[in-house]
Amino acid sequence: MNKKILIIGGVAAGTKAASKVKRDFPDSQVTIITKGEHISYAGCGLPYFLGKVIKEKKELVVRTPEEFKNEQGIDVLVKHEAVKVLPEEKKVIVKNLETGEEKEFEYDKLVLATGADPFIPPIKGVDLENIFTLRTVTDALKIRKLLDEGKVKKAVIVGAGLIGLETAENLTHRGVKVSVIELLDQILPPFDREIALLAQKHLNEKGVDIHTSEKVTSFVKNENSKEIIVKTDKGEIPADLVIMSVGVRPNIKLAKDMGLKIGKTGAIKVNEFMETSMPDIYAVGDCAESKNVINNEPAWIPLGSTANKAGRTTGLNLMGTNKNSFKGVLGTSIVKLFDLNLAKTGLSEKDAAKYGFDIETVIVPAFDKAHYFPGNKLIITKLIADKKDHRVLGAQIIGEGVVDKPIDIIATAIHFGAKVEDLTQLDLAYAPPFSMAVASTITAAHVMLNKLEGKVKTVKAHEILDKLNDENVQVIDIREEPEFIIRSIPGSINIPQTELLKRAASLGLDRNKETILVCKVGKRAYMTYCTLKYLGFDKVSILEGGITAYPFELE
């Protein structure tokens, strides 16, 4: 009894593990050691603190060290760095960062919750003034000060991941002209390209300048204007503020130094009980590896939701009485960018291909509420399923409507191993203000089944691009003329549905040509496809998701 629990790191996972173990085993002696000044803070809220959605710093701090001590009897040492772990002696050498003094702490159980640090690429000039990362409250306070003083007119964000783009939105709301530079050929790397392109379109409409496939080569200070000149392989952009947001890396220095096994993702290897390769040492949160629930492959997806779940598991397991296991992750994530919401769960199309699955995908626009109910908004669902056994492998949902509900439905379904057929059977909540009578998820599953059963042949948006200049292919937009006038795919021709069916019946349509039917969401094209098939046209296909999901240039 009276076991000494030492926890290194005190944001989400560390404080969660500490709280849980102390709650279940009140006689344990729990100490949290953390390098930073703040503990238990809402790191994910930092972009919104810059945008003043969150007004004051205190709103971000979930709990203070004093609260931990007074309410829970947990000791918290801030501004203390664990410099070395001596596993044989069960001791940790801790340095007080204010006095420089070093002290030894004994433990019975040690928890590493050392988190992840922003990755800063070795670019020349990256250490210039007014170039920041956005990971800690301290970072956010410095940036917020510059914004509040009106010193930032234009900013460059390096990296178009979730945090980078949330920051882009928040800076735009503060009246800052934002440019985002991304090394990869798309923004939001966890999403598939066509979904990312739709998001990019929206960001452009909102005034955010996005540069993909562009590499920052150096930062130079203009001594006259005090601006930072961001030089890239394609040009240069002046900025008053630069935020480096190229991702985070697990902080594994302590673990490596003491010889803990590191997984192939680069994070600390743990089992489902959050135990590391050494006895009585646990690792949890952003520094620890996890597992992909779909294929049991190692996964490292640092998120606050995972850190809290795994932190609880660790707290429960520390005394070794009842072993609680953490099954792993699906990579579920969600982000709001201006009026647009995006979410994903499970494998993306490119992940699935990487892992060698033979997959089918569909893209299906639908409404988030009854189509006649005021306030309904469009959402586009991309489903990814295993061709062989029809298991749902992943989904991505994008639109101005509600996306969190359907993505959570699909995440739950995937967690329990659902097949596409199972999705069509779900008894989901329905009334006009909340859903369509056939929910968007169920519609997407129906389209997927049609495709899996060979009832419809479709063409994806990127495939149509190559065919637009092919004279053996006709891309026919079957919408009404006023719709076609508004926006259409360059190179497509307009023959409204009724006119097309007339021509097809009277042999006024070339059946030897490959024909791609385009409509707004894919529904009219599918109905027309069925009729044409019946009339003996066999070289017909439809554009998946119609004009709505088409991410390339329209005229």
């Binding site: 005021p374 306030g375 006038i485």
Partner: protein, 75 residues
């Protein structure tokens, strides 16, 4: 000057834009048409349509999820 009203609530695309198109086609120049729509895509569509057809979009508002547009036929 004449003002016409179209209730296109509950209509799915292309319903609202088709109604507007037909109404304006038959109307005299300078006629103003007010249309109420619940299809959320209409907001962007009506802007683009007016621009391309050179009809004037006098106003565009959203009240409790209902899009209300006022369009004046070109003279």
């Amino acid at each position: 000057m004449k003002e016409l009203y179209i209730n296109a609530r509950g209509m799915q695309c292309p319903g609202p834009i088709m109604q507007l198109h037909k109404t304006l086609k038959d109307a005299e120049p300078d006629t103003e048409v007010v249309i109420e729509v619940t299809d959320s895509g209409f907001k962007k569509d009506v802007q683009a349509w007016c621009k391309k057809t050179k009809n004037e979009l006098v106003s565009l508002n959203e009240e409790d999820g209902v899009i209300i547009a006022k369009i004046k036929k070109k003279s």
